[in-house]
Amino acid sequence: MTGEPMVRAEGVRKSFGRLEVLKGIDLEVAPGDVMCLLGPSGSGKSTFLRCVNHLEKINGGRLSVDGELVGYRAAGDTLHELREGEIARKRAEIGMVFQHFNLFANMTALENVTCAPIRVKRLGREAARARARAMLARVGLADKLDDYPAQLSGGQQQRVAIARALAMEPKLMLFDEPTSALDPELVGDVLGAMKQLASEGMTMMVVTHEIGFAREVADSVVFMDDGVVVEAGPPAEVLGNPREERTRAFLSKVL
């Protein structure tokens, strides 16, 4: 596995009908690294993350996670589409956190976290509960187990969502603007949980407008605009000394 990137994209293209949203994305994320994706709204950041998790199907290029193609199996020169069950199994190894939390509204915090381990990983009920309690304690919510999402603040909901993804023991975590829907005073708790996760060695792709977080935590930063990667590199370069005019213009707006 050494040298193999966790995520590799080569010329990834994606269209919705006649609208081309990704126009050939190239990037690599090494295992244990944190990559932050920046870019103006509509530049295709969410779409790219969804492609990595096969929530969207790509139209061109190659996209692989942990050395295996997303959505296909290569046999010699031909590609075979994966069955739904196989795709689901691969998704189970990738955690995803959404801008609007998307906690299951009909379940308590604890049930949100135990649901997939029990139903997808076939983990025993008690083992799943024990793991869920540990995950929720880790994000500072040990006392909110029996609350429904509607009874939690946005920051608490997002931390439950992180615990829910972590309970599947993913090898890769995708974050799509995890703090954009939060009140400013709640952002810190969520970023704190993410920083801790990064320090524990989780491979992460994070779409965010939190430049401070990117500067502090990211190993690499990618700036996207209009479906292409405009600039990529270590945070000190891309954020501190951008080469491209478009990057500079964007940074001056969010900073």
Binding site: L55, M96, F104, R164
Partner: protein, 310 residues
């Protein structure tokens, strides 16, 4: 202006004393309603032609109770068929395969475009179209041969007509419920590795229930009464039993009242069931759940014990 927090119990602001607004209009309206109600009750109670003793005599008549049993059976079976079929049709309707969703659309359109009474008569007379019914592989060998007249009794004709018709209406209700669940819920479920079926069964349908239950309750209440149409094809349900009795003793009004009383009793029971179902599936929708009337009653009767448990 600032609102004082009263956490320590000290410095509680005095409750407001003010002269409330008077509502003379409400008093007049209430008086009118009461007068009308008293007049109606008086006329019903004092009109000897109602013959309430006859109503009382037939209320628990064996034939009436048997009719009631058939009505409940018809309602339960037809609704069960309708709900299962409705879920199936709704999921088909949302399928990306145009033939599957088109088939579902066609079924729904066809059964909603004709009166249920006509469908009832159709099924009753199906033997004229298909005297023999074979169950088996289409265009292939059949496993069961049956004579339509013996297979389709009036009761099965009623079940088929009411159930298949209900399926079309339930499909629209279930579809509205499924659509009401935000797409982010299935995104999250699928990102956790759930299959489409698991996502539907564990995440989407339970949440859709909140939207599905109230109209389904209405459908059940309406089915209870629509099942009386089956009397036309000599199914021995409640109305048919009442008709049978008054065709002999001519106590028409009294027996119609008997039937109505039983319909009202069943409808009221369905109201209660619907209340608890809605409550169950409303979990997580509101921050606090209201107490049920029973819980409130207990709170009034045994205030100390419940307060201690909290």
């Amino acid at each position: 202006m600032s609102i004082e927090q009263d956490t320590a119990g000290a410095g509680r602001p005095e409750s407001i004393r003010a002269v409330p607004v008077r509502h003379p209009g409400r008093w007049i309206a209430a008086a009118i309603v009461v007068v009308i109600a008293v007049a109606i009750v008086h006329s019903i109670a004092s009109n000897p032609r109602f013959e309430w003793s006859v109503v009382g005599h037939y209320l628990f008549d064996e034939r009436v109770l048997e009719g009631l049993r058939v009505t409940i059976e018809l309602t339960v079976i037809a609704m069960a068929i309708g709900i299962v079929l409705g879920i199936l049709l709704a999921v088909m309707r949302l399928s990306p395969n145009p033939l599957v969703s088109g088939g579902s659309w066609l079924y729904i359109w066809f059964l909603r475009a004709t009166p249920v009474l006509v469908q009832l008569l159709f099924w009753y007379n199906i033997a004229a179209l298909y005297p023999k019914i074979d169950l088996g592989i289409p265009f292939g060998p059949a496993f069961i041969h049956a004579d339509a007249n013996s297979l389709i009794t009036p009761f099965t004709a009623a079940i088929l007509a009411l159930g298949l018709n209900e399926g079309a209406y339930m499909a629209e209700i279930v579809r509205a419920g499924i659509i009401s669940v935000p797409e982010g819920q299935s995104d999250a479920a699928r990102s956790l590795g759930m299959t489409r079926l698991q996502t539907m069964r564990l995440i989407v349908l339970p949440q859709a229930m909140r939207v599905i239950i109230p109209p389904t309750g209405n459908e059940t209440i309406s089915m209870l009464k629509t099942s009386s149409l089956a009397s036309v094809i000599v199914v021995g349900e409640l109305l048919y039993a009442a008709q049978n009795i008054y065709s002999v003793n001519f106590k028409t009004i009294q027996l119609l009242i008997v039937a109505s009383i039983w319909y009202m009793v069943c409808t009221s029971l369905l109201y209660v069931g619907q209340y608890y179902l809605e409550r169950y599936y409303g979990r997580g929708a509101a921050r606090e759940q209201e107490l049920t009337p029973l819980q409130r009653l207990r709170l009034i009767a045994l205030p100390s014990r419940d307060a201690g448990a909290r």
